[in-house]
């Protein structure tokens, strides 16, 4: 352990190119009444992956608009049914049916979250590669669903306190099942520590009238990154965050200025800045043999998850 090997991802994206992609995407999505959306998403992901580099090689997103379109239609169908039940219940003007409609709607939405996380991870991982080696997610939908539902109920009963433990549980489960070829991952965070981190962040932010929020964000990012482990055979590699509160402050203030002063038009430049900040502040420490990662994942097709996740807008952990 004498040498301190460390590696980083780099983001080469340019605001102007991203802006072009955004504009074309928006335009086509508008004139097709939203039907172009999956293709827009594919183009955006392809670009973002293509500009992400690790050890001299770029990442690739293999997903296509066509694949995602199927998922998109399914997702719209599911939402239509759920909203149909909700409004159907409302239309009856009968208290029982109204309550029933409301209950089915919210329970449905709650169930959709883990299903969407699962589907999105499966799809996204299988469609991502680097040097021809594919990522993969081997989680089990039922297991994730169970963890999520039990966790959600406990979170409700404990007035949200258990939420911190649930987030960590989910991260652990997801990383445990993530593969990059024969490389495996784990997440070493703990619910208790995460909970106190948030409590501390919340109260100090209140006390300092928001100033502490930059340290809070920095801590959350560090807690996420620093607890990721990567295993190549017997070798263990650790992720390390170098983000500082000052760095976050600069990133956020300038981004807000960019977005607000341009009335939102310069958002792509803000996104590029954010990507560069995130990538430049993550270090992967340890002796990784970048030439010896073995392909292990099989092909996989079903895009529903990819779009559901996007439609109900959950950040994937």
């Amino acid at each position: 352990m004498e040498q301190h090997e460390t590696r980083q991802l780099t983001f080469h994206g340019e605001g102007a190119k991203l802006f072009g992609i955004y504009i074309v995407n928006i335009l086509l999505t508008l004139v097709t009444f939203g039907l172009y959306y999956p293709w827009a998403r594919a183009a955006l992901l392809k670009y973002m992956y293509e500009e992400s580099e690790f050890e001299g090689s770029r990442f690739t997103f293999h997903g296509t608009g066509k694949e995602m379109f199927k998922g998109f239609i399914k997702a719209i169908g599911i939402f239509l049914v759920l909203y149909g039940i909700l409004f159907g219940g409302m239309a009856t003007q009968n208290a029982t049916f109204m309550m029933l409609g409301l209950a089915i709607f919210y329970i449905g939405l709650l169930l959709l979250i883990p299903i969407a996380i699962h589907g999105a991870l499966r799809y996204r991982a299988s469609r991502s590669s680097w040097r021809g080696i594919h990522f993969g997610y081997r989680g089990d939908r039922k297991e994730l669903l169970n963890t999520f539902i039990i966790g959600a109920i406990i979170t409700l009963v404990t007035f949200g306190i258990y939420g911190a433990w649930l987030v960590i549980e989910l991260r652990k489960y997801i990383f445990k099942n993530l593969r990059f070829g024969n490389i495996t991952f784990s997440y070493e965070g703990e619910g208790g520590a995460f909970f106190w981190l948030n409590i501390k962040g919340y109260f100090l932010t209140l006390l300092t009238l928001g100033i502490y929020s930059f340290w809070w964000v920095k801590d959350l990012f560090a807690y996420y990154v620093n607890n990721i482990r990567m295993y190549q055979g017997e070798t263990r590699l650790a992720f390390r965050s170098t983000a500082t509160a000052g760095g976050y402050f600069k990133l956020l203030i300038v981004n807000v200025l960019i977005v607000v002063l341009s009335l939102g038009l310069a958002t792509p430049w803000a996104i590029v800045r954010t990507m560069q900040f995130v990538f430049s502040n993550i270090h992967i420490d340890g002796p990784l043999d970048v030439d010896a990662i073995v392909q292990t994942e099989a092909d996989y097709t079903d895009a529903t998850g990819e779009d559901l996740a996007d439609m109900i807008d959950i950040g994937i952990v």
Binding site: E14, G20, I21, Y47, R58, R131, I133, L265, D291, A298
Partner: protein, 362 residues
């Protein structure tokens, strides 16, 4: 000229081989030295080669079943050469996304042009569309909708039954030339205000009635509100803001919260200026209705003077005031008064007004 230096990935291991690609008539030949130094060659049959969609000058080709072999080439002349070498096979399909490969100035230029078009659509197309949709909306549904809104709102107010009856009688003495059932409610509230709901409901605060000195002022207020009803301003506003939301959420789809907040506010700002247009329209049409009844338009001048005294005209609030500046309205009304001919003194209306004044000054 048919040789390119490329990077080759065999799809089984993450090692990147620096290789030479040779374009043979019906296949590609890839040569590289594996780590032990042995010269290895791979053959790709032409039909199985797939080009990756890309946005930069890194060309990626894949071959075979999963896990696919990959080559990456950074040579800018590759597309040209492929076209010449294999005229019958299309490696790079023309796509709309090719625009991204142009230089940055072109991208920004195209983007700005598109933005301008969208801006035009938002500022001119959307109001027109909202008007078109609103005009096709059935009147019966509009009345029902307005009544539901009215019932929900009235919980917050105390109705002055006697003034309500008297004001309705007053309104009946004027012909507003509308097919909507105009129903006026006077509520007990000191504020100097009045508003119209879709379908003919008009709510007047007794604070404004108490401040009025002539019947023409009340007639002007009612004429203004009736115009809102008759020209379906609420519906147009609703459809426009719905359309605006749809437009902006599409425009800014997966961008973070700051932008959403911004989008919310910019849309509101747009609605405010839109309202100003509608207010001006309500003034003009209201004046026309009163003129048709032979009622003096001086009522409008007095009404605006009253409003000015009440709310004041603060310069810095220009952008954010829903109504056109009272000063501007006042001036416009004064011009109309000068032009007006054929004013009659309506005894019946005067009678109704006296009833209202007795009640409100009691």
């Amino acid at each position: 000229m048919y040789n390119f230096s490329v990077r080759y990935h065999d799809g089984r291991l993450s090692i990147a081989h620096d290789a030479t690609l040779t374009l043979m008539p019906d296949h590609w030949l890839i040569h590289y030295r594996d780590p032990s130094g042995e010269l290895t060659s791979v053959r790709w049959a032409l039909p199985g080669i797939v080009t990756d969609e890309n946005f930069s000058n890194l060309f990626i080709f894949r071959y075979g079943e999963f896990p696919q072999q990959t080559i990456e080439c950074k040579d800018g002349i590759m597309p040209e050469t492929l076209k010449k070498r294999y005229p019958e096979k299309v490696f790079f399909r023309k796509r709309i996304t090719d625009i991204f490969k142009l230089n940055n100035t072109t991208i920004v230029g195209v983007a700005l042009a598109v933005l301008m078009l969208m801006g035009l659509g938002y500022w001119f197309g959307l109001p027109w569309l909202a008007g078109a949709v609103a005009s096709r909306f059935p009147v019966s549904t509009e009345v029902k909708m307005g009544d539901t809104m009215y019932e929900n709102m009235m919980h917050a107010y105390e109705i002055d039954q006697r003034l309500t009856a008297a004001t309705n009688d007053f309104a009946k003495a004027i012909d507003f030339k509308t097919h909507y059932p105009i129903r006026i409610t006077v509520v007990k509230d000191k504020e100097v205000n009045a508003f119209a709901l879709p379908g003919g409901r008009i709510v007047v605060f007794d604070g404004i009635i108490r401040k009025m000195k002539t019947k023409e002022e009340l007639a002007a207020l009612l004429a203004h509100e009736v115009s809102h009803v008759h020209y379906r301003h609420s519906l147009r506003n609703i459809f426009r803001s719905l359309g605006g939301y749809l437009f902006l959420s599409l425009l800014l789809n997966d961008i973070n919260g700051i932008v959403t907040v911004l989008a919310d506010n910019s849309n509101m700002l747009a609605n405010l200026t839109y309202s100003r247009e509608l207010e001006t329209e309500a003034d003009t049409k209201g004046m026309a209705a009163l003129a048709g009844n032979g009622i003096s338009l001086k009522g409008f001048v007095d009404l605006f003077t009253l409003l000015r005294g009440e709310h004041g005209d603060v310069g810095s609030l220009k952008l954010l005031s829903t109504h056109p500046l009272t000063e501007d309205r006042l001036r416009a009304a004064e011009v109309m008064v000068e032009r007006q001919k054929g004013v009659r003194d309506d005894r019946e209306l005067e009678g109704e007004w006296e009833v209202i004044q007795d009640m409100s000054n009691k």
